[in-house]
């Protein structure tokens, strides 16, 4: 749901590494025998130590509490202040151990034992132990914490008891000794290690949480590469280098200042003036052409893919979209290339729910080709030779109403009269969550961005039965119990050696869903990050798929020393 606020963001650099998703962490963790080894980072030989950078954002940073923060801006800030047991190699989607030094998976895939890295200290100086890990997970799953991410931990034994208020501790999490912690899962779950890398699984010190109470989010204490030095509400946040960070030599920067309340267009002007290093909200659409046509400015733009798909939902429980043929006809009627052109080619046309940089993406799948004639014929076959009238809900910020108009024109071609309902984001979300209100929704401005780089992340809430509930996010109200069963089966494959098999299972789940056509996948947004001239580090750090917009821990500036 970071996608919530995502207008335009994302990481092509990861394309290649993604194919090898299991990565060495999992390779080493062959059930029962393996122990994943720490992958310490290789110091960038060109990196310089020191200096400070300025990053701008338009919206306030709501909170830096890792159990609560779920915004565009605070997601990667929290990643730099806190650590979890797992982590990703910078610039990629490859899992690696974080606060864990190594881990073991039992043969049945239901017990994970993590050995913690010794000598890691919180920003308050105290050493982090297994008790802190347990406390942090008990806290995030406790309903009193009101964490939006609580549900991610549902595979841990004892989750139901804590979520219903019967217990205040997860029975499946056991501290073996100060350096060892064991997780028992109620079902084998291939996504568990990704979940341990989510911000929600960050390790927090109990004494600091209790000292600040509800204000912990304004006074964060973690083990991360940076610590919060100053927060002037509504104006700026300053992160200072954590001198005792457990990854040697990191971070490279001494200080990061986040300036808040800056319109993207103002941020771009200030970047051109040399006052800003990274405009956190990206290049404003209105200025995109101008920037890309100017070689000097274009040289400072890093382009990458992102784990995002923009789509049109068709409510499978409302007439006439309860008819599969009608939905297929709509799929053939949308000219995706034209929509991509409308947004200045800031995206690639899509034909399936998964984005290309996600494992499980089916490169051989062709989808529904653009063919208005055939669409019209199918519509006639389905009993609508003269078309019909319907409504398309859309968020009211540019470019979404324009995209809605393009969809309207495309559907007019095959006789469907679409009236556009352009509403504020929250109202579109409300309409989608009601079973009989929105026949069609264009997801722009609310499109799905993966929480973690795993194919399962595009299913449950948006295409599974669990999301087809009042207030849910499955706006197509598509609920296919057979798919649910196959999804559960795929996720029960925890053996890393069978990763490919699992990815293939997910591939066919998504292409089989496309046969039912609850969505029109329209495009996958590309991410364009702009940086000042003095910013150094590999391009992949600026389109990091996990640390968005950039990986603060690994970037550096070239004009120090």
């Amino acid at each position: 749901m970071k996608g919530f606020l995502a207008s335009t963001v994302a990481g092509m650099a990861l394309g290649l590494s993604l194919a090898a998703m299991p990565a060495q962490a999992q390779d080493a963790a062959v059930p029962g025998e393996g122990t994943a080894q720490t992958n310490d980072h290789q110091r960038d030989p060109n990196a310089k130590q020191g200096g400070s950078i300025v990053i701008t954002y338009k919206d306030d940073v709501a909170t830096l509490d890792p159990a609560i923060g779920y915004d565009w801006q605070n997601w990667s800030m929290i990643k730099s202040l806190f650590d979890g047991l797992m982590d990703y190699e910078p610039g990629t989607t490859n899992l690696r151990p974080g606060l864990a030094e190594s881990y073991e998976i039992s043969d049945d895939g239901k017990t994970f034992t993590f050995k913690l890295r010794p000598g890691v200290t919180f920003h308050n100086g105290r050493e982090m132990t297994a008790t802190d890990v347990k406390y942090s997970l008990d806290r995030v799953t406790n309903p009193k914490t009101q964490s939006p991410g609580a549900g991610f931990f549902s595979m841990i034994e004892g989750y139901d008891a804590i979520a219903s208020g019967e217990a205040d501790s997860l029975s499946g999490v056991t501290v073996i000794d100060p350096q060892t912690i064991e997780f028992k899962l109620s079902r084998p779950d291939a996504t568990f290690l990704h979940v341990m890398a989510l911000n929600f699984a960050s390790v927090v010190p109990q004494e600091a949480v209790e000292e600040y109470g509800a204000d912990f989010g304004k006074n964060p204490v973690g083990t991360g590469a940076f610590k919060l030095a100053d927060w002037t509400i509504g104006q700026s946040l300053t992160f200072a280098r954590n001198e005792t960070y457990w990854r040697n030599g990191l971070p490279y920067l001494d200080e990061i200042t986040f300036q808040i309340g800056q319109e993207p267009i103002v941020a771009l002007l200030r970047l051109q003036n040399g006052e800003v290093d990274i405009p956190g909200d990206g290049i404003p659409p209105a200025k995109f052409q101008e920037v890309m046509n100017d070689p000097a400015q274009k040289a400072r733009v890093v382009e990458g893919g992102q784990l995002q798909t923009g789509y049109i939902t068709m409510n499978t429980r409302m007439e006439p979209f309860d008819d599969k043929e009608v939905r297929q006809a709509v799929n053939m009627a949308i000219n995706k290339d034209r929509i991509v052109q409308m947004i200045n080619n800031r995206a690639l046309p899509a034909n399936q729910p998964l984005p290309p940089s996600m494992p499980g993406y089916d490169t051989a799948y062709e989808g529904y080709a653009y063919d208005p004639e055939k669409a019209k014929a199918m519509l006639a076959e389905a009993g609508f030779p003269d078309g019909f009238s319907t409504e398309l809900y859309v968020m009211n910020t540019d470019p979404n109403p324009r995209i809605a108009q393009a969809i309207q024109q495309d559907l007019k071609q095959i006789g469907i009269d679409v009236s556009i309902q352009a509403l504020a984001q929250a109202n579109v979300i409300a309409a989608g969550g009601a079973e009989d209100q929105a026949p069609m929704i264009w997801s722009g401005g609310m499109a799905w961005i993966a929480d973690f780089p795993d194919p399962s992340n595009f299913y449950g809430p948006i295409l599974g039965c669990a999301g087809a509930i009042p207030g849910g996010w499955n706006w197509a109200w598509y609920c296919n119990e057979d798919m649910d069963k196959r999804a559960a089966e795929a996720d029960s494959i925890t053996d890393p050696a069978k990763q490919d098999e699992r990815d293939r299972m997910w591939s066919t789940i998504y292409t089989d869903i496309m046969a039912d056509a609850p969505w029109v996948p329209v495009f996958n947004e590309q991410r364009f990050t702009m940086k000042s001239e003095r910013m150094g580090g590999a391009d992949a750090l600026y389109t990091d798929p996990v640390n968005i917009p950039i990986n603060y821990d690994y970037v550096y500036v070239t004009d120090v020393q």
Binding site: D59, D65, P143, Q146, T232, A426, N427, A430
Partner: protein, 306 residues
């Protein structure tokens, strides 16, 4: 006088109560669900319901409003749904910036408005008068969003005289103050013009002229003080105008005031913040109007407080 103020204060409390009921009810009736904004979409149905229950949003309207009102009576505006911080501390942190911006805007609109009005009155019927009044008309009708961006582009980007948005120094204050003040300047110039024209027709001015006083003496010693007072009395009412203006101006210039806070809260259905800012604004408007009413009889003894 004391009775009058007391009565007005009682009225003010009733007005605030009314504002709070209406705003709360409107927010309650919104189709948008604040819990979904907090939970995001990966949250399970159970998580959503847990959050709803923790926030008391599963309760009927009267219970929710009653709790809110009880909080206010204890000086507690509640905690932001998304930031979890106390609303009162968020507003307190941002109010000084908004007040500073309003003060800057008042200075701008007075300087601009009064000078324009004065000149227009002196050059009544000429092309200068026409030009000034057209200018003031544009000032009144131009959207602040556009004015702000134009000023930013011209004076900050092109000419580099001022910083490009932000907060901190006097230079940061100039452009947003002008943007916010231009609307009022339009009104003031028109009021000043008619007030001045009116005064210049008065007998005492004719007497002064007949005495052979210098034109500048007549203007600055006799006419101006009389013409300016009714205009000044309007400042209190401006506050209401500013309260709507700051939402836009603060967003354009990245000014960390309560307007920006309100704007962001509205986008995310953060009800406690919306309520808090609305009530603070309503207080400011009520007080501003009261102030305007109290100042009027001091300026013009013919006005009596009833």
């Amino acid at each position: 006088m004391v009775v009058y103020i007391a009565r007005r204060l009682v009225q003010a409390v009733l007005i605030l109560l009314g504002v709070s009921v209406i705003t709360f009810a409107l927010l309650y009736m919104l189709p948008a669900d604040p819990v979904r904004q907090i939970a995001g979409r990966s949250a399970t149905a159970q998580t959503v319901e847990n959050i709803r229950r923790e926030l008391g949003l599963d309760q009927p309207f009267l219970v929710q409003y009653g709790r809110y009102l009880l909080g206010i009576l204890h000086g507690d505006l509640g905690r932001s749904y998304l930031q979890r911080t106390e609303v009162s501390s968020l507003i307190a942190a941002r109010l000084p910036a908004s007040l500073l911006l309003m003060a800057g805007a008042i200075v701008c609109e007075l300087i601009l408005g009064l000078t324009m009005g004065l000149f227009a009155a002196l050059k009544r019927g000429t092309a200068t008068d026409q030009a000034l009044m057209v200018g003031s008309f544009i000032g009144v009708s131009a959207p602040q969003f556009v004015v702000g961006l134009l000023l930013l582009y011209l004076f900050a980007v092109r000419l580099g005289w001022f910083p490009i948005g932000g907060y901190g120094t006097f230079a940061h204050l100039v452009l947003p103050s002008i943007t916010l003040g231009i609307l009022g300047a339009g009104w003031y110039s028109r009021m000043m013009r008619s007030s001045m024209v009116d005064v210049m027709r008065q007998d005492f001015i004719r007497t002064a002229r007949a005495k052979g006083l210098a034109r500048s003496t007549i203007l600055f010693r006799h006419a101006l003080p009389n013409a300016i007072l009714p205009v000044i009395a309007m400042i209190g009412i401006d506050i209401g105008l500013f309260m709507s203006g700051i939402v836009v101006v603060e967003s354009v210039f990245g000014w960390p005031g309560i307007g920006q806070l309100a704007w962001q809260a509205i986008q995310r259905v953060d009800i406690p913040i919306i309520m808090g800012v609305t009530l603070v604004s309503a207080c400011a408007i009520v007080l501003g109007n009261l102030l305007a009413d109290l100042v009027s009889p001091l300026i013009d003894p013919r006005i009596k407080l009833q």
